[in-house]
Every structure is written in C-alpha cells, then in structure tokens.
C-alpha cells in the first residue's frame, strides 16, 4: 500500500446505469445463492410434488372434475402452488440479510437502496423457472396431458412470471416485517397455504359451502389457476384471464412503494 494511493475514482456513469448495474449485481449474488444451495430448490419443490402425488392417487378418484381427468385438472393448481411457495425464499433471504452485518456493509456503499430487494426478487424468478420446469416434468409423468399450443405455453410462462413477481413483492414486505428468522420460515406458508387450499387448486369450488365458495372464487390465486388451467387443458376461461392480470399488477403497484418505505425504515433507525 503506497502512501500516494488514495481513493480510486469511481466510473462516471448515469444514475440509471448504476441502478441497473446494482440490481444486476445483487440479482447475480442471490442467484449464485440458489446454485450453491440447490437443496433449497429441492426442498421447495418437495411439497408440491408430495401434494401432486397424494391428490392424484389418494383423493383423485373421489373428486369429480367433469369432462377432464383429475391429473389434468390438478396440474394448474400444483403449478401455481409451487410458484407461490418459491416466493417464500424472498421472505427468508431478505430476513437473513437484514439480520446479519451485511446489510450495514451494503448500506454504507454508494449503491442504490432498492437493489437488494430487487435482486432477491429477480432470483425468485430464476428459482421459479427451475422449479416450474421440474413440476411440469413430474406432472407429465403422472398423467398430465396438456393440449396448449406454442402461443398458449408462452402465455402460461408470462403469467407464471407475472404471478411470481407479484407474490415475491408481497413476500418482500413480510421479510422486512418479521423480527426473527424462525418467523420468516413459516409466515409465508401461513398465508399461502390456506390461500391455495381455499381455491380451485385441488377441487372444483362448486362443492364448497357458500361462504367459502364466494371467497374461493374471488381470490387472486383462483383466477391465476383458472387462467393457467384454461391455457393448458382448455377449460372455460370466463373473467379469470383479465382478473388474474389485474390482481397481479395491482399487487405489484401496491407492494413496491410499501417495500421501499419499510426497507428505509428497517435499515435506518
């Protein structure tokens, strides 16, 4: 270390360049976490696979899904459930970052404030692409026979990503609210679990008691599942198509400012 060596001049770039660069760096960091801890992805898809097998073979015979096979009915539900569970890692990983000293290091750098959260959300997308692909393969193995064309598959992927973004931003709020890592582990499931069960994921909503049915038919996860199912196996779409997009976009619009407010409050007491 020479005494002449002083601060190395940072590169001169526009602030938009730096926002993108910071987010890219943080996304790369979070994505490396996924690759270095593949057990996370594995344990994450274990639940949906278990549900798929249990529902398909244990309850499947007793559930009347009309014209289509139960395997074809069930798949969209399991697929969306997998995506929803995946977002829980934004809650956990954000809570871990906030807890450990690394948040102080990031905050003492000239980097943008939102990059950390956005980085986790981008990595959620990557993780969900991996687990989504695995779930599709497992589905095909247990009798799921989609009749979607190329365009419909593209729409499935697009909606899957939009839904992931929505639920990840919600999970980011939880990650910033929880006080402990233990809470971060289960808080997401407590919300996602009933939401996926009180929906059209596993059984047609017609058989539910009326109050439950009213809820099930009007909550966002049902709309997303019904849209996926319609695209994949050709069930009727009704209003679910545009409603699922409105819900997802709406959740993102509300969650983003809340997240950045919470982030500032949490990291600057």
């Amino acid at each position: 270390m020479s005494s002449e060596e002083s601060i190395i001049t940072p590169e001169k770039r526009s602030s938009i360049y730096w926002t993108v660069s910071d987010t890219w760096l943080m996304a790369k960091r979070s994505t490396t976490h996924i690759i270095r801890s593949l057990d996370q992805v594995m344990s994450l898809i274990l639940f949906p696979i278990m549900f798929m097998l249990l529902n398909r073979y244990v309850f499947g015979g007793a559930i009347d899904t009309g014209d289509i096979s139960y395997a074809n009915y069930l798949f969209a539900g399991i697929f969306v459930q997998t995506l929803a569970f995946g977002a829980n890692y934004t809650t956990i990983n954000l809570a871990v970052d906030m807890k450990e000293g690394i948040i102080d290091r990031f905050r003492s750098l000239p980097m943008g404030n939102s990059a950390l959260v956005t980085g986790h959300i981008v990595s959620d997308l990557v993780r969900n692409i991996i687990s989504g692909a695995i779930i599709i393969l497992v589905g095909l193995l247990v009798g799921f026979r989609p009749n979607a064309n190329f365009g419909e598959w593209l729409m499935v992927i697009g909606l899957a990503m939009l839904f992931t973004l929505a639920i990840s931003w919600l999970s980011a709020i939880l990650g910033l609210l929880v006080k402990s890592l233990e809470a971060a582990q289960w808080v997401g499931f407590i919300i996602i679990f009933p939401l996926t069960f009180i929906s059209s994921a596993f059984v047609p909503t017609e058989t539910m008691p009326s109050a439950l049915r009213a809820f099930a038919e009007n909550q966002p996860i049902t709309h997303v599942i019904d849209t996926m199912r319609s695209l994949l196996v050709g069930t009727p779409l009704d209003n679910s198509g545009w409603l699922s997009i409105v819900w997802c976009v709406g959740i993102i619009i509300v969650s983003v400012p809340i997240t950045s407010r919470l982030f500032r409050r949490r990291s600057q007491r």
Binding site: S37, I102, S108, L109, P110
Partner: protein, 324 residues
Amino acid sequence: MGKSVNSTNSIVVKDLHKSYKDLKVLDGVSFSVKKGDILALLGPNGAGKTTTVKILSTLLHPDKGEAQINGYDIKSDEAAVRSNIGLTGQYAAVDEYLTGEENLKLIGRLYRLNKDDVNRRSKQLLEQFDLVEASTRPVKTYSGGMRRRLDLAMSLIASPPVIFLDEPTTGLDPRSRLTMWAMIEKLASGGTTILLTTQYMEEADYLADNIVVIDNGKVIAEGTSDTLKSKVGSDRLELKIAKNSSLEKAEKIIDGKVLNVDKDDRIISIATKKGAGELRRILEQLEKAKIDVVDVSLHRPTLDDVFLSLTGKVTSEEEKESKK
C-alpha cells in the same frame, strides 16, 4: 479527494446526540481525527461506540450535531461520504455463499469502480491478507480469523481514505488478533485515517495515536495513551491482609493512595507509579506495624481502572471546585 476545508482533519465530529425513545445513547460527542492517524474510541458495552460509527458511516441520522468525513457532511452529502469510507462492522459482513474473491469483486463493483480496478485491487488484497489459497472457496468454509480478514479487505477495495473498524478483534484468538493489529498498522502507515472502537485498553494502547474514552454517550477523556495512563495513576497494587481486625489500621498506614478497600476479601487496592520501590516501602511499613500480608499483586491499568479513576476524578474535581 476531500475538499480542502479541513485539510488536516479527516474526521470532524461536533456535538452528536442520539436517543432511542427515552434512552440517550449519545449525549454530545465531539472529537476529530488527523489525516493518517489512528483514533481509538474506547468504552464499555453500551457506551455509544457503535452508534457513533453508524452515524459517521451514514447508517444512522443523528438527532443533533454534525460531522464531516474528508470535508463531506454526513447529512447533506451522504453519497460522497460513502465513497470516501470503508466500514468493517462488529460482525463479519461477508456473504457466506460467495467465494472470497466474489465477495471482494461484488463490493468493488458496488463501490462503482471499473472492472480493471476491481480485478487489480482484489488480487492485491487477497495477497495482502493471505487469502489467495482460500479465494475460490465459499466463505462458509472460512475460519473466524479469515472472515475478519476478508471483511477488512472488502472495506479496503476502493482504497477509501477513511476506515471505520467497529471492534475489529472482538472474538478473535490471540494470534489472529496480532495479525489484525499488524494489518491495521500497515494501513495507517500508508496514510489511511482509521477510527476504531474497542473495549480493550491494550488494543487502544498498541494501535492508537489518540484515544477518546466514552461512557454513557459522553466523552470523558481524550489524549494519547501516555496521557490517559498518567491520569489513571498508572499501576494498581493489591494487598491481601491476613486479619480483618488489622484492615483499618493498614488503610491508615498506607494513607492517601488507597483506591478501594474490599472488606469481604480483605484486599486493599493502591495506585502506584513507582512499582517495586513503592511496594517495598509499603510492605516495610506494614511489617513495622505487625500487620501480616498474605498476598501481593501488581496490575497494569485496565479499562476498569481507567473508568474508576476517570469518573472518580471528575466528581472529586467538581466537589473541589464547588467548595471553592
């Protein structure tokens, strides 16, 4: 480079106040650090050391007061301050899943250095901190000492002119501590201004050009380690008296210099500057008075002594002044 406003002082802190609800953490802290100096912020747990570092590194806003780092104001010029500082917190702020090299490069890019600078500096630092071999392993395989070294290397990636080290050796084994000290010294000899917090008198003694002692959010003493030691009254002599009945008599014989009398253990603590000579004189006096001493020990000043003596002195001086 900073503005030339305070060309000799890299860190200037004026009257910082910070409270959490009813708890006053900082109650008017002021000090300054000359360019290239090491300043040790010395104090017990909860004295306000970490809060001070957090405010100076823009992680916290002060309720009142101001500070400049290299001429940049911590409140109005956050971004410039952040480009001028490196921070090593109390817990190694490293990413467990990334390798040592990836950690360095990530931070380098987040400091907004160009890729060539980042690569060059990472290589230098890995060598300098003896982490070349481990550089491609994920950090979760590192030992505590290696983590701290990587942590320090990460805060140096942009060669910031000012470094904050919050308890850099807490929890390290003696050997790693010595390595860390050597690295901090080398850094300062290269012209970096360093503010470190510590609970260890010997650490401040060994490293610091200047020591600021804080307690309950207030600066209670400031100076070089020699000045502080002379204030403390240097060494502490402890005598264990054989019989309870002779304790008071012994206290009278030793007169004046008694710091503390522990009646349960029959131990008299004495402040001494002359060490062995003083010890012989006191023992002779006690023998003449037929008081048996069962144990004698001589202690170098500890942080406890600094506080005992410093806070004691403050009150006695106030008393003297009020009597006048």
